[in-house]
């Protein structure tokens, strides 16, 4: 909550970078403090579903719209992830020269939307922040991007806005069926408590809401904005977008669609399991045949985010905890990937893996970081990817019927395919002979790049080595929801 105020302060200063860095670090500090305090309170036996709730501030009273915020274990995890990615993103875009002030302004607006979304417990404000997070993408990609930036920016914005059209109808439906006695409300907790929507209406509004968020979560077949968008976006924006913004989709599917309309979620899960299962496998295969580093990662994100939604739809505690863990883990590791790709591209001016080779000798620090990110992505024990995927598949395997088993096994194959494309890139780009003579003069990472990369690696390894506190915090939130 404080985080938002920090954001706004940063806008007016002239020493933008310094202020941004200070603001982001302060935000990081706040969220770490929030996490510790949250854990301490749980330890002390606080049992309320959401902590730190403010008294709802009435906004539009006739429509019962309030500004009410609060966090549970899941949103704390998400906030922690967001602040880490935002902070490292600021460092990763330290070298940006063109229109620096405007860039950071939009970047802040994007982060503001993200934070606001995770802390809202009122559907209206949640939707508001959701859209706030989407629109800066257009200018961030369009102005500071590379390649086919105008096309990608437009495609991304329109597809995501299309998703929010679905979502908005869903929200209206939820609102008008939010209570039995006519006291309509936007408050998620109250709606869940009232649980007034008849099942036949749920069958209409659940798919709308789920698809609405699924577009942002890059669910097949609505994922096509993601590769183009990520490939054209500037480094820090790809980081934030793949790392955090796509998580908004998963979080929303879970918090709004499944939490508020559980019966329909139960009945219609099979459709979406097929779709998300497809995106897991399809994304992984697509990543294998790409030659552009960013495209490889974008498809890999499609695959991993598919896994998040896939695990959520399994609807048991273990799998859902795994889903949230996977969100955090994928957020960190994909941010690291995009940061490194941005750094490499800034030096070699190409992202085509056929034109690169032997970079490990030229820039050892970046090379080692890239290998670590790759290992996290393919689920090496000791890094965060292993913890998350393990939990997901163990949880998913609890379903014993053929349908679920089949898709779980299909999903598992994606781990193998991930190994294929990660090792392919590592082998071609980092090892082997140097392809381009000019590359030999290139330098290794400078200080702010190291800050960004190491910060993310520490977080990844931290979760990989000591996952228990995080998964406890998350499953605590899940338990409240499953009730």
């Amino acid at each position: 909550m404080m985080a938002i105020i920090f954001c706004i302060n940063g806008e007016k200063k002239n020493l933008i970078r310094m202020v941004m860095a200070a603001g982001a670090l302060a935000m990081l500090g706040t969220s770490v403090y929030l996490t510790l305090d949250f854990l301490a309170q749980r330890e002390a036996g606080a049992t309320a579903e959401f902590l730190y709730c403010n008294d709802p501030i009435p906004w539009y009273e006739t429509l019962n719209i309030n500004y009410s915020v609060g966090v549970d274990g899941i949103s704390v995890a998400m906030l922690l992830l967001s602040t880490i990615v935002v902070t490292t993103g600021v460092f990763a875009s330290w070298g940006l020269e063109k229109l620096t002030k405007e860039y950071f302004l939009w970047f802040l607006m994007l982060s503001l939307g993200v934070f606001g979304f995770f802390i809202s417990i009122d559907l209206f404000t949640m939707f508001l922040f959701y859209e706030v997070a989407l629109i800066p993408m257009y200018l961030l990609i369009g102005l500071w991007g590379t390649g086919r930036k105008e096309y990608s920016a437009m495609k991304l914005t329109l597809m995501l806005m299309g998703g929010s059209a679905f979502l908005m109808v869903g929200i209206f439906g939820i609102y008008y069926y939010s209570s039995m006695d006519g006291n309509l409300t936007f408050n998620i907790l109250e709606i869940a408590k009232n649980h007034a929507m008849p099942i036949d209406k749920q069958m209409i509004f659940f798919p709308l809401t789920f698809v609405g968020f699924g577009v942002l979560g890059a669910m097949f077949p609505f994922h096509t904005w993601s590769p183009d968008g990520h490939a054209s976006a500037p480094t820090a924006v790809s980081m934030l977008h793949a790392g955090v913004l796509m998580k908004l989709g998963g979080y929303g599917c879970f918090r709004i669609a499944m939490y508020l309309m559980p019966e329909a979620a139960d009945q219609l899960a099979w459709i979406f399991i097929i779709l998300t299962g497809t995106s897991v496998v399809y994304g992984a295969f697509s990543a294998c045949v790409q030659n552009d580093l960013k495209y490889i990662n974008a498809y890999s994100s499609v695959s991993h985010c598919g896994l998040v939604l896939f695990a959520l739809l399994m609807m048991n505690k273990t799998a859902m905890t795994g889903a949230i863990l996977q969100m955090v883990s994928h957020g960190l590791m994909t941010a690291l990937f995009f940061a490194l790709i941005g750094m490499i591209y800034g030096r070699t001016h190409t992202r085509d893996i056929r034109e690169m080779g032997g970079l490990m000798k030229i820039m050892p620090v970046l090379g080692v970081c890239y290998v670590i990110a790759g290992m996290a992505s393919l689920g090496l024990p000791g890094l965060s990817g292993f913890v998350a995927e393990m939990t997901v598949f163990v949880g998913a395997f609890e379903h014993s019927d053929l349908f679920h088993r089949f898709f779980v096994i299909a999903g598992c194959t994606s781990i193998v395919i991930t190994a294929v494309y990660i090792l392919r890139v590592v082998g071609k780009v980092l090892f082997g002979p140097v392809q381009d003579k000019h590359h030999e003069q290139l330098t290794d990472a400078c200080w702010y790049e190291k800050v960004a990369a190491f910060g993310l690696i520490i977080a990844i390894a931290g979760i990989g080595l000591a996952p228990l506190w995080l998964s406890n915090m998350i499953s605590d939130g899940i338990m409240n929801m499953l009730k």
């Binding site: 006739t62 508001l128 609102y175």
Partner: protein, 480 residues
Amino acid sequence: MDIIKEFYSGFSIMNQEVSLVLVLVFVLLADLFCGEKGKKYLQLLAIAAFALNVVYGFTLKVDSTYQDSFAGMYVTSDMHILVKNILNVGTLLVFFFAHYWNEHENRSQSGEFYFLMLSTLLGMYLMISSGNFLLFYIGLETASIPMAAMVAFNKKAHESAEAAAKYILTAAFSSGVMLFGISLIYGTYGTLYYNEAANAFLAEPLQIMAMIFFMAGMGFKISLVPFHLWTADTYQGAPTPVTAYLSVMSKGAAVFSFLYILITVFRNYAETWQNILWWIIVVTITVGNLFAIRQKNLKRFLAFSSISQAGYILLGVIAGTPQGMAATVFYIFIYLFTNLAAFGIISNIENQTGKVGMDDYNGLYSTNPKLAVIMMLAMFSLGGIPFFAGFFSKFFIFLAATQKEMYLLVFIALLNTIISLFYYLLVVKAMFIKESTNPIKPIKSDAMSVIGLAICTIGMIVLGFISPIYEYMSSISFGI
């Protein structure tokens, strides 16, 4: 003697009309007597006088929820007063934007400009407050005939004359259609008073036909598809301040009186007109959006955009509920600031460089950052992007329509917002992303435009957050 007394007491609730007439006469006389030297001050004088009238409007309030005079010929309520106040604010903003143009290109006739514009405003007042179809018709004509003169104001440009010819012909035609509808209403209902007609419900086809003719006539005024064909040419040819006035004020007044008549006179046919409006809305939004995509002239572009916006406004009308009315009025209120901001920028740039093409705006941000940012805010607000006011008004109007279970309609409208976002982003793209070899030179805006743009910008940013406005509207709204 009593009759005379009663006659004059009828005026006692017509404060806004009376004060507007005073301003009107004052402007006319001032124009007559000021002479060549006084012309310099005439504009300021007119704007100041009208500003007083605007302020006065906000002090008014009716005692009970509903008041009428002249045996129900004239009706008023807090809502009526509020709508007139909103129109007042818009007109004042248009005056701000028109100041520079009047000063430089229309020096000799600036008095007439103000006089004609205020006359149309008076007509709109009467349209809004009428309780009888005759008064409504008189108001409508008072609003449209001076308007044609205003459209033709730019005497040197032949497009302006062409635009006026198109406007007056369609206006006359639509008045004819509407008059036919009104005559059918008189024939089948036996009365022209709204409240009496509402009770003379017969459920016979002729009454429905009367309603349809009436709706068609209104369709021309609000420029709904398929009655929209005059819009683009007229908007393009008219002087920019007049276009701004047409697109916001004329539309707002017509929509409100349309809504009022639908929920009073045709209350018993609610299902019928809801069905008709359902299709009209779908077609209006879609056609307006699809045509807007290909426009290169920004005034034409905004013409089509305003057609589709009219479709969105009708989403509040179709609900017919109090919530719908509040959402409609709120939408008009927000739309006023947003659209006038866009027209303010266009007129500012057109006045000083003569450029109105979308390509001329390439690279505007590098030369005129402030104008570009305001234009961007306006585009985002029109597209319904938060935090700007347009998001809130869109949300409420969709919410009002879904209250009547029109989820499909709202869904279609929402899909259309994607198309509209596409073309609004084209403008943003031109200004921010594209580069130009021949960008618009840095412009020094005149003081009046700066004031107008500042008001619009503040309105676009803060209005969504100030919930009491909407609360007030919903506390005084009414419906079926």
